[in-house]
Symmetry: C2
Subunit: 353 residues, 2 copies
């Protein structure tokens, strides 16, 4: 079975640095608590049960497309779904994030990370993709699939939950490089299997979330993280869909991330896009980078900041290779009217080739 | 009354990029929960009451000097002490940090930030300095005073507590620049008054903590934060003690921070010191930058990382202008035996001019 032909959308064109009709825009965590229709549809069930209900997950995926008119939907799911699906023992606590009852500690824990068979372990993921892809067919709106990068998933498995310091994961990578390598291999396999399944089911682009890589020094990233990140992109290269690598607080790593094999590198708000392009290198598109914290400010503030992002994204003069996004996810208290106005502004004023 | 002559210590010499006997080393948050003698002395009282008890605060300040043999003590206090002392309504919650019952919102709140008279509002601070300075006289160990930088203090006053996004403080600085300027002026006056009082009482160097400045874009830092930071250093320049400016996650800001007027710029673990020196410029010493998260790892890991910090700090060949420290504060679960071994390593192997 070969993957579907890559859709003819501005999102995909921008990933490949081809001319676009309009600068494409979407928002990380655009489906979520900031939307009243999300809160209504989600009800009181857990996030993992919503993800496991393909019809509900498809609805949550599509809500922000209807609300904002964004150029891409991103699959409603979570980076810990593969580890959860193979029974590692991961839950998602409301307001806290992924938590692990028995964190990863030793070689014996490698056995708890068997390969993922997407069709039997998590069939709801591909089913959600198929439902959304059918809905979006011919609309010009792309569907983005995603996975967690091995390091960021490992940080949850080792720390047992969200961390501010990442001290346990850093200690393990330095002190037990063999065990760390085994863990990276298994998490790479999980990410590749999940992404391949999503692509075969119909996503037109994928994003790899290495959200917490910015906690590492460039040396740590090079030695302990970049090889596995490269292996993920190598593992989907034959499927020919564009790929995005994202991290927050990763200014020092942009040059290294540009060597990981993605078509696009995500940039947070700390580095202007034209500076980021110089660090990442010429063969990549960039995604970003409006500060999500500004989306609670009055519109004139957001408007000026969004215009600066557009100008910085277009500073190379080609008018290509920029996907407008926030520098990190939508905050729960973001003003959704403001987010809609940002989409309209980007569509009206984004760079043209 | 003129300030005491600057002490003849390696810490002060390193700040001024003069030749040192040994590379000086101290640790941010070296006094704290990681030390059993700290937990014993602190008992169950609040942090603010410990700070308000000069004899206890002096003891807590001196404990890490005895334990580790570090080259500097740092006053046991907190960056919100001046705001607390003038009655703004700040408390420090164990395990959480500074919290504010009635956050700063409008022009009326400016009236809650009257000038600080250190002698009457917080006499215990200078008294602690005098007690510690007497104890350290002639020992070669420096006493460092400190204050919070206006932005970082403002973040607590506006957000009402620790924040991950700083969305309220960012919204205020952008949307109400006049109000923001008034707030910066008042917080600058608090920091200057507190630092001057500490210097007159006997500290031999000061550190300005702009811990959360790294959440800002370079443009935000330049427009909204750097002017007040410069005003703090200008306000103590006549007292001729060396000064250190510190922030975490501030790689993008190092060049700007180098223009703020301090003698030393602190660097976190994400930027190697020789890279940081290039960004900061030649006229500054650097402080840092062992990753505090590594101090829970086995000694061979820490040893290698500490040696790399020493090599990077000495990479300009002069053997001067490096104060060894962590890239951020000691973690509560840090291995204090490891921290002691780091001090010994730095003293044995630090650069010589």
């Amino acid at each position: 079975m070969s993957p579907p032909a890559v859709a003819d959308t501005d999102l995909v064109r921008a990933c490949f640095r081809q001319p676009v009709e309009r600068t494409p825009v979407w928002f990380m965590r655009q489906a979520g608590r900031s939307l009243p229709e999300y809160r209504a549809a989600r009800g009181t069930g857990s996030i993992l049960s919503a993800i496991g209900d393909a019809a509900l997950a498809a609805e949550l995926t599509l809500q922000p497309v209807r609300r904002y008119g964004v150029d891409a939907a991103i699959l409603f799911s979570d980076i810990v779904v593969p580890a959860h699906a193979i029974g590692f023992g991961v839950d998602i606590e409301p307001g806290r994030g992924p938590v692990v009852a028995q964190p990863f500690r030793s070689h014996r824990d490698l056995e708890r990370l068997r390969p993922l068979d997407p069709d039997t372990d998590a069939p709801y993921v591909a089913e959600t993709v198929r439902l959304v892809a059918r809905e979006l067919a011919g609309s010009g709106v792309a569907l983005i699939g995603f996975a967690g990068a091995p390091f960021t998933v490992a940080s949850y498995l080792i720390e047992g939950g969200p961390s501010r310091t990442f001290s346990k994961v850093k200690a393990l990578m330095h002190a037990e490089p063999g065990l760390w390598g085994g863990l990276m291999d298994r998490l790479t396999a999980l990410s590749v299997a999940s992404l391949r399944s999503q692509i075969m089911a119909g996503v037109q682009a994928v994003q790899l979330f290495d959200s917490w890589a910015g906690s590492l020094s460039p040396d740590e990233y090079t030695r302990f993280v970049l090889p596995a990140t490269r292996a993920v992109f190598a593992g989907i290269a034959d499927l020919a869909v564009p790929s995005i690598l994202f991290g927050v607080g990763n200014g020092e790593l942009l040059g290294l991330m540009g060597t990981a094999g993605s078509d696009v590198v995500g940039v947070d708000w700390r580095v202007p896009l034209h500076v980021a392009r110089r660090r990442i290198g010429p063969d990549h598109a960039v995604q970003g980078n409006l500060d999500p914290a500004l989306c609670v400010a009055p519109w004139p503030v957001v408007e000026q900041a969004a215009r600066e992002v557009l100008a910085s994204g277009a500073a190379d003069g080609s008018g290509t290779g920029h996907i407008f996004n926030l520098g990190h996810g939508v905050l729960p208290d973001a003003d959704i009217g403001i987010l809609g106005a940002v989409v309209d502004l980007v569509h009206a004023e984004g760079a043209r080739p």
